[in-house]
């Protein structure tokens, strides 16, 4: 708040009509740590309400209990193996689904024939809720990681397919005309214009798919698993260990945020030239 005081003091010397109190009012609103402060206030309120109203801990845990469960889970070594299992399912499923999505997107995006042949089935596949095929995958591929990786891949696949197709078509006509006038072949036009133009779209797809991948792995583990954070949530739920469930939810959201940050960081480096962010085709 020293910052705010400094600003309001400065306004005294300025001949502007704006009252000093107004100025300082605005400057604390611009503080970047405001969301964290809000979180702290909410946590304190939550803790206070649970204690005051005497809510049973098997219904809503106290934030402090969640913090303890989080600490204990790591300290006892309980969480780490499960984190590694789920993380591997997420990453492997994401990479496989995204790769297949991009490859098929390029095939369809470059050939009207392939589009006519394949695309109707792709759309039909997308309307199918992937969660509904999770039990089949578990029967086919077992309780291990393979079934979860496949479920995650099927979920991560579509955002990349759709965004790659749209992205490849987003190259402006005059760019393609320019390359054609320079005697460019179709392959050169693809490499020099269509693919770079598609990248902003592909990155939007990667971002969406990264978040969906977390859902894929957890749903897969809910259906049937021997390990993983989804498996751990179910186990703790059976034992009415609400603090433990909340602790895992925090870990899962951190994994999601981590993947998002990773995608955005790569995107910033690759798409340094693009200030306009492509629209989300599939959310």
């Amino acid at each position: 708040m020293a910052h705010a005081v400094e600003k309001s003091a400065a306004t005294v010397a300025e001949p502007t009509a704006e009252p000093a109190s107004h100025r300082s009012d605005r400057s604390w609103k611009e503080n970047r740590y405001l969301p964290l402060a809000l979180l702290f206030v909410l946590l304190v309120a939550w803790e206070g309400l649970v204690v005051l109203l005497d809510v049973p801990k098997i219904v809503v845990p106290r934030p402090s209990a969640v913090a303890v469960a989080l600490w204990d889970g790591f300290a006892s070594g309980l969480f780490l193996p499960h984190i590694m299992v789920t993380l591997w399912e997420i990453v492997a499923g994401f990479v496989i689904g995204a790769s297949v999505g991009i490859a098929l997107g390029i095939t369809i995006g470059l050939s009207a024939f392939m589009e006519r042949l394949i695309y109707p089935y792709v759309i039909a596949f997308q309307t199918l809720p992937k969660v509904a095929i999770a039990p089949i995958m578990v029967i086919w591929f077992g309780y291990g990681m393979t079934s979860k990786i496949i479920i995650t891949a099927t979920i991560a696949f579509f955002p990349l397919l759709a965004n790659t197709i749209v992205g490849l078509r987003s190259a402006p006509k005059d760019q393609i005309d320019m390359l054609k006038a320079c005697t460019a072949t179709d392959w050169q036009i693809f490499r020099m214009a269509r693919l770079p133009q598609a990248l902003p779209y592909i990155f939007v797809g990667l971002d969406v798919a990264a978040v969906l991948s977390v859902i894929g792995a957890i749903v897969g583990e809910f259906v049937g698993a021997k390990a993983g954070l989804g498996y751990l949530i179910l186990q703790m739920n059976f034992n009415f260990n609400m603090a433990g469930v909340f602790a895992i939810l925090i870990i899962l959201s951190l994994i999601g945020v981590g993947l998002h940050v990773l995608v955005v960081a790569v995107q910033r480096r690759v798409l340094f030239w693009s200030d306009a962010h492509a629209d989300v085709v599939v959310a």
Partner: protein
């Protein structure tokens, strides 16, 4: 590079017709009975209102649009697609935003697999010629519209084309920049000994640059008159104020006053 007589026409267009078939308006007759010969080394401009087919003619010459019938030859060879002997400058600079200025100029050299060391040197020389020597490593987004269009001109010249096609290259620029670019283009033309065909909707620009002005009229697009501009060269900005210049402008404008506003 080209095996033709120095006196012969570099470009020959005869009885050229272009009909577009559109879904809602039926057939549109874009070009009718176009006859045009461009001698080697000439700077020829095409002027006309929108819809007169001037851009269509340019696209056919560039080989990115098919003609309906007639003859279109460059250096005695019929055009059946884009050619390496051509450089094209479009209305917009159309630079690739992920490539540096230098790499943008090198795009045609890369496509045509020319010697990259020599091309790089030529690209640097061209950029210096248009005053962008210090901007080689910048990205297009960091350049003004006039600078971007100068990069596009360098790109069109990188493979030493015999024939440079320009489609309203300065239309998007402000009046001041446009005048500077006109002077620069004349310098380039003298420097590179190229044949230039430039489409414009500015009558003064058409007169100022040209050896000959092709006046086109619309519906169907056809050549109304070809005017030889015998103003002495080198031309400076002062030419704009001479009565002879005014007479050429008036003569061309008369074609459009009766029919419609020029855009």
């Amino acid at each position: 590079m080209l095996d033709h007589e120095p006196t012969a026409s570099l470009v020959r267009v005869a009885s050229l017709e272009k009909v577009y078939s559109t879904r809602d308006k039926g057939n549109v007759h874009a070009l009718h009975d176009i006859q045009l010969d461009v001698p080697d080394g000439e700077l020829i401009t095409i002027v006309g209102p929108s819809g007169c087919g001037k851009s269509t003619l340019l696209k056919i010459l560039a080989g990115i649009l098919e003609k309906s019938s007639g003859v279109v030859e460059i250096a005695g060879r019929p055009i059946d697609g884009p050619s390496r002997d051509l450089g094209v400058v479009f209305q917009a600079p159309v630079l690739l935003p992920w490539r540096t200025v230098l790499d943008n100029v090198l795009v045609p050299a890369e496509i045509q697999q020319l010697d990259m060391t020599a091309s790089r040197e030529r690209a640097q020389a061209l950029l210096r010629m248009v005053g962008l020597g210090a901007f080689e490593e910048k990205y297009p987004g960091e350049l003004s519209g006039g600078m971007q269009q100068r990069v596009a001109i360098c790109r069109a010249l990188i493979n030493k084309p015999a024939f440079l096609l320009m489609d309203e290259p300065f239309g998007a620029l402000d009046a001041m920049t446009r005048e500077t670019m006109n002077l620069e283009l004349m310098r380039i033309w003298e420097d590179q000994a190229a044949t230039i065909l430039l489409v414009t909707h500015s009558i003064p620009e058409a007169v100022f640059l040209a050896d000959r002005v092709v006046v086109m009229s619309p519906r169907p697009g056809r050549i109304a008159e070809i005017i030889t501009v015998d103003l002495p060269r080198p031309r400076r900005m002062e030419v704009f104020n001479t009565p002879e210049f005014g007479q050429f402008v008036t003569r061309i404008r008369r074609h459009f006053d009766s029919t419609m506003e020029i855009d």
